[in-house]
Symmetry: C3
Subunit: 348 residues, 3 copies
């Protein structure tokens, strides 16, 4: 989708929240809270009446598929579940339809298209973002990221909705520690990158904590620094758990892969590359959100973008404890997705 009007979200893509103004983000979040309060009765509940939303999953998903399909249903429309084997797209190795043609034709059938594309479907970091922007350039309906190698805008929005539900609307000056966790699921960078960007954008004091070797995309870090400066907040990176957890108001724990994953995948194949990541991650025994670390905080809320790798990223005790907001954050995915779909592609 190319043409946009400022302050009017109709027709807009959402590839990362960083592409939207703070005002636009707040508009989506406000509507999400309204829709949560009137789940089946909101005046915009017919926004997708009889309309089709395509969900194209280059990579499989649990929560994302469930919540997007439910979101379309709750708005009166229908989300079609599409997988690559059913798309017959042209690749470097086989004849097929070009992305340009697929995007043009999908625009004729649907009011919007969601796309998920992650590491194992890609050759290099950033390729997923390029593909999404290629769909967006050729589509006349909004393209939404349902998670790609760089960003995961709806997870970032849901995280914020969850914090606000528990910590209040004004997050300015709240310290959030976003801390790497060990684990065997070899997670993408998309959720953590989106989250540190939107959090610094909205004025939270963000501390990113991880063991040496787990650096994220330097461009994203630069954006976070700029965001913090613009919102008069702080952004810092630490490699020390004590420092990370200290006085935090919110603890966000999540595993992510090293930057070597793409290279390893190219050289040794997907399974071997995953095994290498799992072995590396297993060395960092301390990097789990447990009661001891939580005791260093300002009685912090615990959050996680799910699905949780229990007793790796977080102990059962913390995850099931009174300050855990993980299920509310999971639910928030539904509400932010309904809000953005209603605003960007809903009937007028």
């Amino acid at each position: 989708m190319l043409v946009t009007k400022m302050n009017d979200l109709y027709g807009r893509d959402l590839i990362t929240t960083q592409d939207w103004s703070v005002e636009e983000i707040e508009k989506a979040l406000d509507l999400a809270f309204e829709m949560k309060a009137n789940r089946y009765d909101h005046p915009m509940n017919s926004s997708l009446d009889r309309r089709t939303f395509f969900m194209f999953f280059y990579n499989p998903s649990v929560r994302t598929r469930q919540s997007f399909e439910a979101a379309a249903t709750e708005l009166g429309g229908h989300a079609q579940f599409l997988e690559p084997k059913s798309m017959r797209l042209k690749t470097s190795k086989s004849a097929g339809e070009t992305i340009e043609d697929a995007a043009q034709v999908m625009s004729r059938y649907a009011v919007g298209v969601g796309i998920r594309i992650l590491e194992t479907a890609l050759e290099y970091y950033g390729q997923g973002d390029e593909i999404l922007r290629q769909y967006a350039a050729n589509s006349s309906v909004p393209i939404l990221s349902m998670a790609h190698d760089k960003f995961h805008p709806f997870q970032g929005l849901a995280d914020v909705m969850g914090y606000r539900q528990h910590a209040g609307k004004n997050l300015k000056g709240k310290k959030i520690v976003q801390v790497w966790g060990k684990g065997a699921l070899v997670r993408s960078w998309c959720s953590i990158q989106e989250s540190i960007m939107i959090n610094s954008r909205l004025g939270m004091d963000v501390t990113l904590a991880y063991p040496p070797g787990y650096d994220l995309d330097p461009e994203v870090i630069k954006s976070c620094e700029a965001n913090a400066e613009a919102s008069d907040s702080t952004f810092e990176i630490v490699h020390d758990l004590e420092e990370g957890y200290k006085d935090a108001d919110i603890v966000y724990s999540r595993n992510w892969m090293t930057s070597n994953f793409y290279d390893d995948m190219g050289k040794h194949g997907v399974d071997a590359a995953k095994k290498m990541e799992i072995e590396k991650a297993a060395k960092h025994d301390d990097w789990i959100a447990n009661s001891e670390w939580m005791s260093k905080t300002n009685d912090a809320f615990f959050t996680h973008c799910g699905p949780v790798d229990r007793n790796a990223e977080v102990t059962d005790e913390v995850c099931d404890g009174p300050k855990s907001i993980v299920y509310d954050v999971a639910e928030a995915r539904l509400h932010v997705q309904k809000a953005v779909m209603a605003l960007t592609m809903g009937k007028k």
Copy 2:
């Protein structure tokens, strides 16, 4: 779903009809007949308006998927089709999400969850029932069995609806013979077990007939005996076809596996275990519902829970004959599912 109120089906699980009172079963059946009579016009036809029902198929299905998805559509909602590969659940061999977390999150997105889990996805008899009850304990929305190793409640309800459509509402004193049939499909115990339980519960005189070696779950047999006593009817087991068919008002024919299947699967793998069952079943040439056997009955109706393995469980002549009610029973699946969904999870 944990909290229930007597005589109020809202919020209730359905894992077997044996968990519901006779009064509750009758309420569901009455509504099913009403919904059949007014297929697209019943006042409760908007019960699932814009709401999501998850169908989670550990094992694939034909009729169950078609009829549940159609039921949700006819009630104004949408049934999402989920398979294990798209769930990334934790197993003994791989990291992933726990059933507890999956159930909690699904409860946030949907008004109910249907689960199908059969022998080839399990390690021992009874494990499927345990898993369903684990989902139910952790879910805040109703859990419905779409067939599991022990029970198949919607098939049992549909069977009864079919009998009543043809033999009248009062089934007290009618003799039904539920007879094992040869065949190459290695059927689960779930349909036959559910059926003998609900039939004895509702006062039919049930004769269960099978060749030696095809004993069912002794706990289920005990329930049937208790049901018969409570409803003032009879329940008996015979291994003789003549005795089974004699004077029957309804003939129900169906293949099922021996109790050795799980062991054989563990020792030799699924395919070998199936082959062993097929070879065993092939020896019982007489165990087919044919015209000769039907001539011993009281001009009985013929029923089968489908899909039919023709010329193994039943001859074409009987299955296509004037007393066959197989298609009506298949249709009844839709109506009983609509009724139970409307009662347990419909909007108020």
Copy 3:
């Protein structure tokens, strides 16, 4: 579906447009144009309210699945996506449900059934058409072809809708050249055969152009000749590109396989048979719709039934040029499908 009334499309199958009268075809096309003009507001937009349409894909598809599922949604219903692995049908090699039983039961759950079955799921040419007619004979709801070995009625209708949108409603006397194109996708005969039949039926002057060795079904050719005679138009076959393109008003370019494909598949397997076809097709370098050939025409529109194999069947220059109508023809699939579904299975 067996019983039909003339001039009343309710309950009718659509296996090829050749089975319908010209009057009936025109009725469907008129409604398609109306529905395009009032996409979400047409009075027949609730034709499938809460009703189920089954889409059964023996072979996968892109456009067909997307457009049929969207069509059902836009009519207020829901299209269920079914694949063979989820159907457990009886085959020559395995036990399972017969087509007769499957068709009878599906008729109880749905208001119509679409079926797609192409070469790689078949043993000989014509078997797909036989299977569709077997479903139709045993179903009490309409059976629609979503492309099979012989015909593709909705593509034929969409093609015509596209021409009329650009060349005007009256196509009598317009020359259309339907020209074979090189390419690596080994296309079925279904689209080209349906198209030459409906075009000759509606009075266009059809020139079918292809290199020696690419003959189509002789029965279809005979139908085209009869159609041309009945509609007072011309039908001719040429093997010369110059002659084909000369003075054409519309250019339709499309690859198709040779008649040897089934034999080769039987002898050498699917992949080898495809490779053989691709090698044969690659020899015909001139058979591409490019600017040079287009310059021989009467400033013709360019059309293709999609997905396009760019720079094989057509150059980017032509496909993206001002006379290309390929995206409008793709969109037309949606409208003609909505129209036929509303007419044949919509609520009254």
